[in-house]
Amino acid sequence: MTQPESAAAGGDWPLFEVFIRSRSGLEHKHVGSLHAADARMAIEHARDVYTRRQEGVSLWVIRSADIIASDPEEADALFEPARDKVYRHPTFYAIPEEVKNL
């Protein structure tokens, strides 16, 4: 696809991440991102792009640049040490017969 002028208009706008709380959910979940010129427009775009099918009852948007992310280069150091610690999963308990829904 070629990049028409329209790409330039949106391209100037900062990127926002969108979070939606669904009707039945308690927490806001990340659903995607969009471009917007300001916070108000970001909420409107989030509403128009991500809640057209009754996906939610509450919206959060945050500038993507404001998110502090872990460094993929450090993934080994951050996450590998948990790999061999299976005892952290509560899978070593004998479940009594009477307990049905655990």
Partner: protein, 264 residues
Amino acid sequence: MNAAVTPPRRHPAGLTAALFRYVLRLGDTSLVLGQRLGEWVGHAPALEEDLGLANLALDLIGQARLFLTYAGELEGRGRDEDALAYGRDAPQFANLALAEQPNGDFGSTIVRQVLLDAWQLEIYEGLASSTDTRLAAIAAKALKETRYHYRFSSGWLVRLGDGTDESHRRAQQGLESLWRFTGELFAADEVEAEISAAGIAPRLESQGQRWSARIDEVLDEATLARPAHQPYAWHGKRGVHTEHLGHLLTEMQHVSRSYPGARW
């Protein structure tokens, strides 16, 4: 069903005729404006705006369906929403002339939208407590949509008007060229006079003052200058349209007229 039991007439015959024309005006204005906004699909300045404008268009066409269905019932000649939308020519359309004006640039589209969103806000707020329960229900639903439309359009008007020199110039230009069609918005003729006399809707003139105040407020925030009052020459709601409506209908009615009665 017992044929002897007929539903009670809700309005006297004369009033029903006026109400038909009144409801047709509301429905046609929503339909034509929705069709205009639909023309932006695939052409909006950004993907997000594309979806935003399409959402407004779909809300408006949804309103049109409810109004036109009701209008068809009031008319009592067996015309449904589709027959009214696709089977009439321009002189039978009763939309406000402002709604049919071409999109122009994005600035003009936003100006047209602000002017009409603010108009619909007044009209629907007034109708939400109407003695005609059918109209009240449609208006209550449409009002929620329109509050969002105005939030969207007024936000853009301020952004454009109070933005760059270029965006300010274009927004002001759109305002200058569309302002002459605003005279029609709150000028009541015998139809609206009868409807308000029957207590179905508030008097149009009193709503016009609130519209005017709302527009002044948003123009002020957008640093745009309100054009001088211009006597209006177009009577869209009486079927006297600008040449633009015919072109719009040609496109909108093309499939229906080429393949009458087609189903899929």
